[in-house]
Point group: D2
Chain length 213, copies 4
C-alpha cells in the first residue's frame, strides 16, 4: 500500500507530534485542572493567532491554483464564524482580547506568513496543513481524555474536534498530496524541515499559557 | 463641506469615468441589442477576472489592518456566491468558461495583483475600490437605461446594481478615506495615477467583448 | 541526446520567437533607418522597464534558494551599471526619461511582477529568463544584420549582444533547468503559457516605438 | 530644534537599546574573553541571517520608490562582499557554515520577511533600518570598549564599525524620515512596536552564542 505525502511528513515528525499531544496544557484542559488565568492567556493569544492566520490564508489564496483556492474560500468562511466564537466566549469570560501579542505568537505567525510568501506552494501549503492538523489532533486528544466529563471550555473542545473540522483537514491533506507530485528530494527536505518547525512553534504556543501562571 | 478622498479621486478621473459609462457594451446591453456572442465572450473573461480578483483580495487580506480585513472577509463570502452565479448562468447559456484568458484580462488582473503586492496599502486599496465602484456604476448605468424593459442578462444587471453591492462599495470607500489620512502629495499623485489606470483597464475590458464580434 | 527544459520551452514558442526577431524595430535599427523619435520613445520606456525589472528581481531574490540568489545578486550589480548607461545615453541624446509609463510597458512589467509574486518559482524564473533571453537574441539579431556597419546606437547593440550578457543568460537557463526537475504536466502547461505571454509582451513592447511615429 | 522620525523611534526604545548594547557577548568580544565556540556559533548563525536578510532587501527593492531602491541596490552590492568576508573568515577558522538554522535566527528573519511583505513601506523600512543601526551601534560599542587592543575578530569589528557602514545607516535613516512624512498616530504606534520587536530579536540573537556554551 502506498503511503501518501502528508502521511510521510507526519511519520518523519512523529516524535515531535507525540510530544505535542502530551503537552500539559492539553492534559490539564481535559482533566479540568487548567487554571482559568492560563486558559484565558492562551485564548487571548489564540485570537491574535487566528487573525494573523487570515493573512496566511490570504497569501495562499493569492497563489493557489483555482481548485485549492475554493477550499481556502471555504476555510475563510469558517474563520469568520470562528472569530465570532472567540469574541463571544471571550466576552462571556471577561477575557481581554486586546492583550499585546506575545513573542511566541509573533514568532509563529511570522514564520507562517514568511513561508506563505516565499516558499514554493507545496511547502507553504504543508505549513498551513500542519498547523490545522495539529489543532485537530490536539483537541481530539483533549476530547479523548475527557471521557465524557463536561468542561467549562467545551465549546472550544467540540469545535476543533468535530467531524466538520476533520473533513476540512482531510481536504487540505489531499490538496497537499496533489501539490507534492513530482517533488524533488531537495524540496522534500525543505518541506520536512518546515513541517517540523510548525510543530516546534505549536509546542511553544501551548507553553505560552503557563508563562508566569 | 469637506470632500472625501475617494470623491477627490473620482473627480480627478471624471473624464475617464464618463467615457467608461458611455461604452457601447453597456448601451447595447441596456437596449437588448448586444450580440449573444459578444456577451458570452465577456462573460467567460469576467469569470477569469473574478477568479483572479480573489487573488487580489487575498493579498489585501494579508496586508490590511484587522477592521478592513473583516470587510474583505465579507467580500470573499460574496465572491463565493458570485462565482456560483457565473457558473450557473454560463451553464444555462452554454458558455464555455475554459476559454483562454484574453490579453486584456491578463493585463488588468496582473496590474491589480502587482499593485496589491507592491504599493502602499492606500494605493492598493484604491485600485481595488476603483474596480468595484466602476462595476457598480456601469451596471447601474445599464439599469438606468433599461427603463424597466427585461433583459436576458437581468440576473447580472440586478446583481451588480443592487443596494447590497452599493453598500459594500460604500464601505470600501469609507475604508479608503481612512487609509488616506495623512497622505503625502507624492503618494497622492501615485494613487491618482493608479486609479486612472484601473479605469483605463476597465474600458479595455469592455472592449474585449467586441473583438472579432 | 536529451533536450533541456529551457530548450523545450523555446521550441514550444518557436513561431512567436521568430516573429519577435523579425520585428521592424530591430530590422530598422540594424539598417540605420530607425527614426530617432522612435528609438528615443523606446529608450525612455526601456528605462522604465529596467527600473520595474529591479522589482521583479527583488521578488525572485526573496524567494530563490541561495545558489540561484547569488546569480540574481550578480544580475543586480549589472543592472546598476546598466541604469547608469541608460542615464548617460539619454542625457547625451536629450531624451526625457521622465516620460509617463506607456500602457504596454505597464502591462508587461505588471505581468512579470504578478508572476514573480504568485507563481511557483520555476514559472516565475522562466518568465525572468524569457525576457533576458529575448533581449539577448533580439540584439544579437540586430548585430548580425549590421554586418559591421556602425550605428548611432552601437552602445546598446554591443551591450546586449555581448558574450558577458550571453553568459549570464546561459546561467539563468541552467538554473531554470534545475528548478524544473520533477515538474508535473500541469505545471509545465502553466510555464509554457507564461513563456509565450512574455514573448507576446516583448513584441508589444517593440511596437511601442512606432506608435504615432 | 526638530527631532527626526528615526531619532524619535530610537528615543521611544531607548531602554531596550541600552540593554542591547550592554549584552555580555559584546563586552566579552571587546575584552577578548569570548569563548571561540560561542563566537563561532554566532558566526554560523549570522551567515544564515545575512542570506535571509538578502530576501528582506529583495522585498523592499520590489516595493520601494526608485530613489530608495538605488540605496538598496548599493546595500546589495555591499552584501555580496560581506557574504564573501563571512565565507573567508569561516574557512580560516574552521567554522561550519552549514550548521542548522537556530530557532532564534529563524524567528528573527521570519519577522523581518513577514514585515517586509505585509506592512506599509514606512514600517517595513523602519524594521530594516533598526537592525542595521543596531549592528552599527553594537560593533561600535565593541570598538569603543576595545580601547585599541587587537582582537582575533578584528575584521568583523572593523567592518561594522566603519565610517562607510555608518554612512549607509545614515542614508537609511534619512530615507526612513522621508517615508514617515504624514504618518498617522495609528501607523506610528505600529512602527514603534515593530522597532521594539527588532531590538528584542537582536538581543535574543546575541543570546544564541551562549546557548550550551
Amino acid at each position: 500500500m502506498v503511503t501518501s505525502f502528508h502521511e510521510e511528513l507526519r511519520s518523519a515528525a512523529a516524535a515531535e507530534w507525540t510530544a505535542m499531544l502530551a503537552h500539559p496544557f492539553l492534559a490539564r484542559t481535559a482533566a479540568g485542572t487548567i487554571a482559568p488565568v492560563a486558559f484565558h492567556r492562551w485564548l487571548a493569544q489564540d485570537f491574535h493567532y487566528a487573525r494573523e492566520l487570515l493573512r496566511v490564508m490570504g497569501i495562499l489564496l493569492a497563489r493557489a491554483p483555482s481548485p485549492h483556492g475554493a477550499l481556502l474560500l471555504d476555510g475563510l468562511v469558517a474563520m469568520k464564524n470562528e472569530l465570532a466564537l472567540f469574541a463571544a466566549e471571550a466576552a462571556a469570560r471577561g477575557v481581554d482580547l486586546t492583550a499585546p501579542l506575545a513573542p511566541a505568537c509573533r514568532d509563529y505567525t511570522s514564520f507562517l506568513q514568511a513561508t506563505a510568501f516565499r516558499a514554493d506552494l507545496v511547502e507553504a501549503w504543508a505549513a498551513f496543513y500542519a498547523q490545522e492538523a495539529a489543532y485537530l489532533d490536539c483537541w481530539r486528544e483533549v476530547k479523548r481524555r475527557q471521557q465524557g466529563a463536561a468542561s467549562p471550555y467545551q465549546s472550544f473542545i467540540d469545535n476543533w474536534s468535530s467531524d466538520g473540522f476533520a473533513g476540512y483537514v482531510a481536504a487540505l491533506a489531499a490538496a497537499l498530496d496533489e501539490l507534492a507530485r513530482g517533488i524533488t528530494p531537495d524540496a522534500r527536505v525543505r518541506v520536512e524541515r518546515t513541517f517540523r518547525a510548525v510543530v516546534d512553534h505549536e509546542i511553544r504556543f501551548w507553553d505560552l499559557a503557563f508563562e508566569q501562571a
